[in-house]
Subunit: 272 residues, 2 copies
Amino acid sequence: MHGQGAGVAFVRWSVLCTIRGNTLNSARAIMKTVLSAPRRAVRGRGEGAEARIVRSIGEAIADRRLPPGTKLAEESLAEVFGVSRERVRKVLLLLAQRRVVTLIPNRGAFVAKPTAREAREVFEARRVIERAVVEALERTARPLPDEMSAKLRAHLAREEEADRAGDRMALIRLSGQFHQLLADFAGNATLAGILADLIDRSSLAIAAFERRSSHSCSATEHRRFVEALESGPPGAAMRLMMEHLDAVERQLDLDARPDGAVDLKSVFAERT
Amino acid sequence: MHGQGAGVAFVRWSVLCTIRGNTLNSARAIMKTVLSAPRRAVRGRGEGAEARIVRSIGEAIADRRLPPGTKLAEESLAEVFGVSRERVRKVLLLLAQRRVVTLIPNRGAFVAKPTAREAREVFEARRVIERAVVEALERTARPLPDEMSAKLRAHLAREEEADRAGDRMALIRLSGQFHQLLADFAGNATLAGILADLIDRSSLAIAAFERRSSHSCSATEHRRFVEALESGPPGAAMRLMMEHLDAVERQLDLDARPDGAVDLKSVFAERT
DNA sequence: CTCTCCGATTTTGTGCACAATCCGCAGGTC
DNA sequence: GACCTGCGGATTGTGCACAAAATCGGAGAG
């Protein structure tokens, strides 16, 4: 989970200078902000704690240490993170709006369990956005700047290392980060933020619908994509990305199963 | 602001049946849910109030009755809506995550004032998503089903009526709803939800950056689009939609102006 | 033996009060 | 005259306590 923590300090004096008519004391305002920012950072807890907890829970969900359907009791989380229950409540509200957890009135918070339909929608949305990302990359960044290339290759190395080590959890997280990295390079923070949510929800969908035993390695597909982006013919990278997303979705078992208690009969009917 | 309220009742027993191993008492769970759902609806306030306030504030922002930078004091809002202050706080947190309001620690909530960069990003994101929407519409819904056609034409009628009446506020809201309607027809609720946020943020960007005096009427462009979608050659609708979004963005004054106090000197320098 | 009802316990929801912070303003100082 | 420094008023942030609701267990009826 990669929160899109905007620069609060910057927003701060921006608002200060524009809201009220008095724009002349901006220097003083900047001064106070610069001084107060570290002070806030030193205490570190009041505001950073929420972001930390959000990220922590988010990563746990993306890594499937918290599988879909898991109950997230407020009291337990408060104890785990050493904060008050209401802080946890706020965090859960944030995660709920990102559709990563489901809030059921008077029942509590649960790790979201997407429906098959929602899973399909999320992947389609990813295709839509990532197509635009790759288009932007192929259009504006060709040849690929050294910095991007270096970061991508460093990331690929980490992925392949995790693959060799059989660290499935790290591989999942890195795989998501790869797509996030591409979106960041594309230069549209808004789209990147939207994609961040969709990637998290993809993790959820994968956790909920993954077929047992099937697993095409993302690392090699990612490497082929980067190579196509760096030195392939125009459109090759796009094609690889679309195929990659299709492959990931095809790994899922999204057929039938209206999800729930319906197939109980059929399950036991076969046993007669 | 069009909240995407999911079917809570459905999620409810779905979770019930899958979380714990015991799946056999699902019938009983359904029973209790079916009974409790209307009861919750009758009381209606505990959960509906928040959504109502979110929609209310959201519409006010989209209609520019609350221009960017307006302070949203908790106490005042609580009094206006007749709820407790913490309810308002929750609502503001939700709106903040949708980037419609900006939350500044210890300062309060303000109607978001997007930067020029953010405005450009939002419009680019809209182009990305609405391109997909129109593609889906042209691909899967051709010829256009009667129901869609009827709803679209009814909407056009409302837009044109508002245009004739000079009801600028209604026109803005209807214009947003038009795009929302198309996204709904495309059949991907996830994408439609994302677009809903982007449309709201577009309203904000327009409010913040609109040029005085310029105003190309959306209603006629919308009508042309619908006609192209119904009976135009393939691709015509897409082209019109892209041109329409470009036109809306071009109405904005997104040049230079790093936003804030910087141009004060230049403004007064010209007067010597 | 199964189903239903009902009370005890746990968990969530909400109002309230107090603490912390910030803005505006006055007074003093260089 | 400009700047720093406290101080008062107001607003936001947070912990706490209580109320409301749901789950879980057992007892009783069919």
